[in-house]
């Protein structure tokens, strides 16, 4: 499945691993924080409209 990377196999695979991990982490953190903030805003808005 994985093509023959020759003697540089570790180099290529570790580059891909590091980059993909970083990208995925960035996306996951962005989405997690986005969800949290969105829920928080709805909560605050509801409380404010209840209390006038």
């Amino acid at each position: 499945m994985i093509p023959d990377l020759g003697k540089y196999g570790d180099t290529v695979l570790s580059s891909y691993a590091v980059s993909i991990v970083l990208l995925v982490a960035l996306i996951v953190f962005s989405v997690m924080r986005g969800r949290k903030v969105r829920a928080e805003m709805e909560r605050v808005e509801q409380r404010m409209s209840r209390n006038g």
């Binding site: 093509p3 023959d4 990377l5 020759g6 003697k7 540089y8 196999g9 180099t11 290529v12 570790s14 580059s15 891909y16 590091v18 980059s19 970083l22 990208l23 982490a25 960035l26 996306i27 962005s30 989405v31 924080r33 986005g34 903030v37 969105r38 928080e40 805003m41 605050v44 808005e45 404010m48 209390n51």
Partner: protein
């Protein structure tokens, strides 16, 4: 619509609510297309391109290294533009977009630095060389860190937006100066960065025909990174807008709303 009217229509997106509504509508497109592009580009590049005769399989790293490096710089340019818009027109969305973009720039710079270091190990025989291009990215990384730290440190959001914008402007000038300084200081091991000629990456003596093999997947990866950057900025700006709104609501509650 006249050009002026179009320009005016563009400023309407500076209205946070309109921004949120529009970004919500277009975001799915950007997420899907960007991730598809990156997956296709990387799979193509990883599985279906040959090794370079000089660098062997390490040439496959360019599919990550080059787009990340491009975005690291373009992200700073985008922050510069939005900072200017904030300083001149006082659109909050603009300042928040700059704030939202900075961490993406950090990650892109980090990817460019790390893949560069990993690639440099077998090629140059060392993890880290004080090569001008690597050094410039390290300095850019410091600029990003300082910028984010300043945003985090300041309580009042408008003050933070003003100060970080000025820092971004001044920083840009110094970043360009540093680039020249670093070039002067060390002529460097790094190849030229001409992206449009992937041959530059694979060595000048490679045939152009061969470099086309690397060029198309690289182009797809670059498009993917650009779209991913846009998606992330739109999404994160939305988050910043909501966070800002929460802060404003709570502050109003405190003064007795």
């Amino acid at each position: 619509m006249s050009i002026a009217a179009k320009a005016n229509a563009l400023w309407e997106y500076a209205n946070p609510r309109k921004f949120l509504a529009t970004s919500e509508r277009v975001l799915p497109f950007f997420w899907i297309v960007s991730i598809t592009c990156i997956v296709v580009g990387l799979v193509w590049g990883f599985f279906f391109t040959p090794d370079d005769y000089k660098q062997g399989s390490t040439v496959k790293i360019i599919y990550l290294h080059v787009p990340a490096a491009l975005m690291a710089i373009n992200c700073w340019l985008m922050m510069l533009a939005t900072s200017l818009v904030w300083l001149v027109r006082r659109h909050h969305v603009s300042a928040l977009a700059a704030r939202a973009a900075a961490p993406i720039g950090i990650v892109m710079t980090l990817i460019a630095l790390l893949t560069g270091a990993i690639w440099g190990q077998p090629m140059w025989g060392t993890w880290w060389a004080w090569d001008p291009r690597l050094t410039s990215f390290l300095i850019l990384f410091l600029f990003y860190l300082g910028y984010v730290a300043l945003w985090e440190a300041i309580e009042d959001p408008d003050t933070a937006a003003d100060l970080t914008s000025v820092l971004c402007l001044v920083g840009s000038v110094f970043a360009i100066l540093s680039r020249y300084a670093v070039n002067f200081w060390n002529q460097g091991l790094h190849q030229g960065a001409s992206v449009m000629r992937a041959g530059a990456v694979t060595g000048a003596d490679t045939e152009e025909k061969v470099s086309n093999i690397f060029f198309y997947p690289l182009l797809i990866c670059i498009i993917g990174f650009v779209l991913l950057f846009i998606a992330l900025v739109l999404y994160r700006t939305g988050t910043e807008i909501r966070a800002r709104r929460i802060k404003a609501l709570l502050a109003r509650e405190r003064v007795g709303g």
